[in-house]
């Protein structure tokens, strides 16, 4: 019996040793920062390094992985900036805790792409009111308690997509299926509203089904499978992002119906699994470049932290409509290999 207890104590010490080493491993990362950062308490001394906290909504989305990569790449060019990333994995409560931790660490600047607008507004305001400059990327919060918002014009993109569909379907019109993003996120609402505006010019274009896939490819497959079951006649699938459109394509292909309809997405990443390649390979009929704004966020951070300048409240990024005609050229333009 006492043998068992010794056994247990061995395990206990082992586990805590493992834990401790993990801790120290993570700690050495931030302690480098601690030792090299000038003491912010001493009056008037110039800061040598700035800590930026980046709270991401969901790294399960490839577009957000690209956003983080672009932020990191832009920050690498400025040794005074150190960026730490937190991922909320689509959990609002976790993202609130992530931001609270950043506030606690007194980060010099907060970049956030909120999972949903309403739940995150209060905590973002807390950071802003505590004197931390806040840059909001892509998805908005409510109110105006932030320093700068950087994002594409989702309404315009939705409208362009709608106009494209109206044009392609022509006088005969057609039946459209809409695969929407996460309901509480602002790009979803705007891409939806914009699209409806875009197709309004053609009264024969009808949206026959509209379901949320929360920006995720696997959800889109399931959602599209159900829609395919219920609707025998579909002409266009409008996905709020490329993964949604690709998921719908996979579902259609599994039922052998992918040639009956055209697929439209948004994002246009120049990656091997991105929308540009999908257009080049014929799966998507069109996509729209939706820049992540990562690079612009770091540029604003430099302005705010180093140059101590004011920045504009809203920065709207441009989009490009990509079809088979220009896909290859755009792909090379954005660094695709």
């Amino acid at each position: 019996m006492s043998n068992g207890r010794i056994e247990v104590r061995k395990w206990l010490f082992l586990s805590f040793a493992l834990l401790l080493s993990l801790m120290l491993g993570a700690c050495s990362d931030s302690s480098e920062n601690t030792s090299s950062t000038a003491n912010s308490g001493s009056g008037g001394e110039e800061k040598k390094e700035f800590l930026i906290g980046m709270s991401q909504a969901n790294l399960g989305e490839p577009w957000r992985v690209a956003m983080n990569d672009q932020i990191q790449a832009a920050a690498d060019e400025h040794p005074e900036l150190k960026v730490v990333f937190a991922d909320a994995a689509q959990d609002n409560s976790k993202q609130i805790a992530d931001v609270e931790n950043f506030i606690q660490q007194k980060v010099d600047l907060l970049i956030i792409s909120p999972n949903e607008a309403k739940p995150l507004t209060a905590v973002v305001k807390k950071a802003y009111d505590a004197g931390i400059p806040v840059i909001v990327l892509d998805r908005k919060v409510e109110g105006d308690a932030y320093t700068q918002y950087i994002g594409g014009d989702n309404k315009l993109i939705g409208k362009k997509a709608g106009e494209y569909v109206a044009k392609v379907l022509g006088e005969k019109g057609g039946r459209v299926v809409e695969i929407k993003g996460l309901e509480g996120s602002t790009p979803q609402q705007e891409r939806h509203d914009g699209f409806l505006e875009g197709i309004s010019s053609n009264p024969n274009v009808k949206v026959i089904a509209s379901q949320n896939a929360d920006w995720l490819r696997d959800k889109a497959i399931t959602v599209m499978e159900n829609i395919l079951q219920a609707n025998k006649d579909i002409n266009v699938v409008y996905g709020h992002n490329d993964p949604a459109a690709e998921g719908a394509y996979i579902a259609a292909k599994n039922s052998g119906r992918e040639k009956e309809m055209i697929f439209i997405g948004i994002d246009g990443l120049p990656t091997p699994d991105g929308g540009l390649k999908a257009v080049m390979e014929g799966r998507l009929s069109a996509t729209y470049i939706y820049p992540t704004g990562g690079k612009e966020a770091i540029e604003s951070a430099i302005k705010i932290l180093l140059d101590k300048e004011e920045v504009e409240k809203t920065v709207i990024l441009d989009t490009i409509e990509v079809t088979k005609d220009n896909a290859e050229q755009v792909y090379k333009q954005f660094g695709g290999k």
Binding site: R5, L19, M23, N92
Partner: protein, 342 residues
């Protein structure tokens, strides 16, 4: 008995051995608190930036207690269920359902706060009652039953709101929620209201378990259900009541959740049952039933909260955080196994 042996035995050696054994006994009895102390010390040492202690800051500690409140309230109910030898997997789904229902009733059906709270708490109690009923009258294992009600509650929640979250906006006009509801998201003298509710409920149920007949019955049934039955205890009724309490507490957590996020989403609460079970297990409650305390559960809840906070403040990779958490749970449960093997 040898005649050559000295008539007066040497008591000195027994004295020290007894002390060592006693120390070990208390060490293992209070292993959960020790675990909490270890984790708190670790956090206090490691989470320092620019000479400031990030962890021991009152604001940070308030954040921790706030973020564990929902799990804590659910864990109280889970403790009771596990004590009688059962388990409740539907708590997370009940949270999602009640959060969605609360938001919808106030915003779209324009019901007042009191009425809404009443209906929502009733929903939780009803689902708990359903759980208890099927477990006792149909003699099906609670694991399966609550797995099923988890699915049912989740489905109802999604169906109710069309699968999307119901936002909560406060105001006087129709189709806006009564601003009194935001109380659940506020702080009183710096202490978050959810934390106050959690502590109050913990005290209440601590007292119930330790000092009331009902509490003794719960332990009796958990320890040996047949013996309890033979002693004349109304086993079925007590078990049902336990499940009702668990459902009720989950509903309460759902209300707080909706207020905290200013929205009621049917997909929220996913995985909350695992967090609650982890807290209960770390706190020293045996999953076999009959052994455990509310106090232990609270400590377990706090250990998980401090861990989350420490890993967050140290900016440990989110994926590593899950690894660390899982390791802690195994360590804690292994310790319990050694304890109960005595």
């Amino acid at each position: 008995m040898s005649a050559e042996k000295s008539p007066v035995p040497n008591l000195e050696q027994y004295q020290t051995k007894f002390n060592l054994k006693e120390i070990l006994y208390w060490l293992q009895r209070f292993q959960s608190i020790l675990g909490l102390i270890v984790v708190v010390i670790l956090a206090s040492i490691l989470c320092v930036r620019n000479g400031e202690n990030l962890f021991l800051d009152p604001i940070n500690l308030a954040n921790i207690v706030r973020s564990v409140s929902e799990n804590g309230i659910i864990a109280i109910g889970m403790t009771l269920v596990i004590l009688i030898g059962g388990i409740d997997l539907s708590v997370g789904a009940i949270l999602g359902l009640t959060a969605t229902a609360a938001a919808d009733l106030m915003m779209n059906k324009d019901l007042g706060m009191v009425f809404t709270l009443f209906i929502v708490l009733l929903m939780g109690a009803l689902i708990g009652w359903l759980n208890g009923l099927v477990v006792t009258k149909l003699s099906i294992q609670s694991f399966i039953v609550t797995l099923a009600t988890m699915s049912i509650a989740r489905g109802i929640a999604r169906f109710w709101s069309g699968g999307i979250g119901v936002p909560i906006t406060y105001g006087e006009e129709a189709n806006l929620a009564p601003s009194a509801f935001s109380f659940f998201a506020e702080r009183v003298y710096g202490v978050p209201v959810p934390a106050i509710i959690f502590i109050l409920l913990a005290i209440i149920f601590f007292t119930v378990l330790k000092f009331t007949r009902f509490g003794r019955y719960v332990y009796a049934i958990g320890g040996n259900e047949t013996a309890g039955h033979l002693s004349g205890l109304k086993v079925d009724r007590i078990k049902i009541l336990v499940f009702v309490i668990c459902g009720l507490l989950s509903a309460f957590a759902g209300i707080i959740h909706a207020a905290q996020l200013s929205q009621g989403s049917p997909n929220d609460g996913n995985g909350y049952e695992l967090n609650a079970i982890a807290a209960v297990a770390i706190g020293g409650t045996s999953l076999m039933g009959g052994i455990g305390t509310i106090f232990g559960t609270i400590v377990g809840v706090l250990i998980l909260g401090v861990l989350d906070n420490m890993l967050g403040l140290l900016n440990v990779n989110s994926n590593l955080q899950m690894v660390v958490k899982g390791t802690i749970i195994i360590v804690a449960v292994v310790l319990q196994k050694a304890n109960s093997n005595k």
